[in-house]
């Protein structure tokens, strides 16, 4: 079976499974709200400060919430029986990892957009259409970067002891460039209305590298 067909099958299954796991998904959205509430109660930022703290708040909250979703991507396949069946099936192994990566990117994208909208609601910040569109582009690239990274490392760590501790230890340091670039680009968009700049190039290249890594290492990551 070819790569694209396998990717489609795996991604479609994850999407259909959402119906049975919708509680978990809403839990991540609620977690974002909780992070925002805790930040507000702890920091009590002033209205003048808004352009400084808002980008950091949006991205740190999104990364924390979506990382919990990403850590759970391979939960079902962690059962040895299912993984053995998938590996012995005609599915392209690279396609399995690519399908899961797309799912990870989707989770990231949805959580980040929701967090963005909630943050602007709670801090009464008005965006124009152009700024919102630019932010969507940033979210798209960062979701690809983080989602693909998370799925690849998730596949690599299948079968490892203490996976739930090890995976964040791998993931967060490698996600720092995405976080830094996204925060700085968001600041630029909110203050100056610019999208394209050095940070955008960094984000684009980093996300593209993650994309290529999944293509290159996807199959090997499932080998044992």
């Amino acid at each position: 079976m070819n790569l694209l067909k396998t990717t489609n099958i795996i991604f479609s299954e994850s999407l259909l499974s959402l119906r049975r796991k919708i509680g978990r998904f809403f839990g991540l959205l609620l977690l974002s709200i909780i992070f925002i509430v805790v930040f507000e109660l702890a920091y009590e930022p002033s209205a003048d400060d808004i352009n400084n703290f808002l980008p950091g708040l949006i991205w740190v909250t999104s990364i924390l919430s979506s990382s919990i979703g990403i850590l759970k991507i391979w939960d079902d396949e962690e059962s040895e029986g299912l993984m053995d069946l998938l590996k012995s099936s005609p599915l392209d192994r690279g396609g399995i990892v690519l399908g899961k990566s797309l799912w990870g990117a989707f989770v990231c994208f949805t959580i980040t957009v929701s967090t963005l909208l909630m943050t602007f609601f709670f801090f009464d910040y008005t965006l124009d259409l152009k700024q919102f569109f630019f932010l969507l582009i940033v979210i798209l690239f960062s979701s690809i970067g983080f989602g693909f990274l998370g799925a690849l490392f998730g596949a690599l760590s299948l079968g490892l002891n203490f996976r739930n501790i090890l995976l964040p230890l791998f993931l967060y340091p490698l996600a720092v460039p995405i976080l830094m670039a996204s925060i700085n680009i968001t600041k630029d968009i909110l203050v100056n209305g610019f999208l394209i700049g050095t940070w955008f190039y960094i984000l684009f290249v980093y996300s593209f590298v993650q994309f290529l890594l999944v293509f290159g290492l996807g199959e090997q990551s499932l080998e044992s």
């Binding site: 509680g23 978990r24 839990g27 909780i34 509430v37 609601f121 801090f123 009464d124």
Partner: protein
């Protein structure tokens, strides 16, 4: 016959709500003290939903507490049905309050005590729903959910008293005041109670529908 009457509950409620809305437009005096004019009509939705969410949270917690004590599944099902309605009421309270805030203060949200504590109550109710959704019929899920319901109910007096003990943009207690009788026009009070009645009817109808649905599987 019984099933047919269930089908009419929600349409009947909706028609009653429309009739009450016309009644509000015709009978309600403008609220001179706050100079809100016709924006007071938003209050007729917001306050009843808030009261309903508090009442349903407490009732749901009560049923949850009885389940924890007696371990009978009927009490847990009742608790779940009530908390679902409490969560929807809390959400509608926050939404109607946001619209009110945008019109009155020019902002969808402020981090004052009443709004923040109400948001926390809503998050606790959602946490209950998520735990129950993810853990289906397991005893551990029911037990955890019931404990969350009880904790949510403990939050209700904090929400109610928040306007008295913290600095807040939100209007202070108008009806349930420690200082004296309700500080509200009598006509408005009657309309408010009518609206509360309608919302309560909706709430209990939803609970009844939910319970009969969950019993049938």
């Amino acid at each position: 016959m019984k099933n047919q009457s269930k089908k009419w509950i929600l349409p009947a409620w909706f028609i009653t709500l429309i009739l009450v809305d016309f009644g509000i437009l015709y009978w309600s005096p403008p609220d001179a003290a706050q100079n809100m004019g016709t924006r007071v009509y938003m209050m007729y939705m917001h306050v009843p939903f808030a009261w309903t969410s508090f009442l349903m949270t407490v009732l749901g917690a009560l049923a949850a507490g009885i389940y924890l004590w007696k371990k009978e599944n009927d009490w847990e099902r009742t608790s779940r049905a009530i908390i679902e309605v409490a969560a929807v009421s809390a959400f509608l309270t926050l939404m109607t309050g946001s619209v009110w805030g945008k019109i009155t203060w020019g902002t969808w949200w402020v981090w004052d005590a009443r709004l923040t504590t109400m948001l926390i109550l809503f998050l606790l109710l959602c946490a209950y729903l998520i735990v129950r959704d993810m853990h289906g019929s397991s005893y551990e899920g029911k037990k955890t959910g019931s404990i969350i319901a009880v904790i949510a109910a403990l939050n209700v007096p904090i929400v109610h008293l928040s306007v008295n003990y913290w600095r807040t943009l939100h209007q202070g207690s108008t009806i349930f005041r420690q200082e004296g009788p309700p500080k509200i026009d009598s006509d408005m009070f009657v309309i408010l109670l009518t609206c509360f009645g309608v919302v309560l009817w909706w709430a209990f109808s939803c609970v009844k529908l939910r319970l009969s649905g969950s019993k049938n599987g």
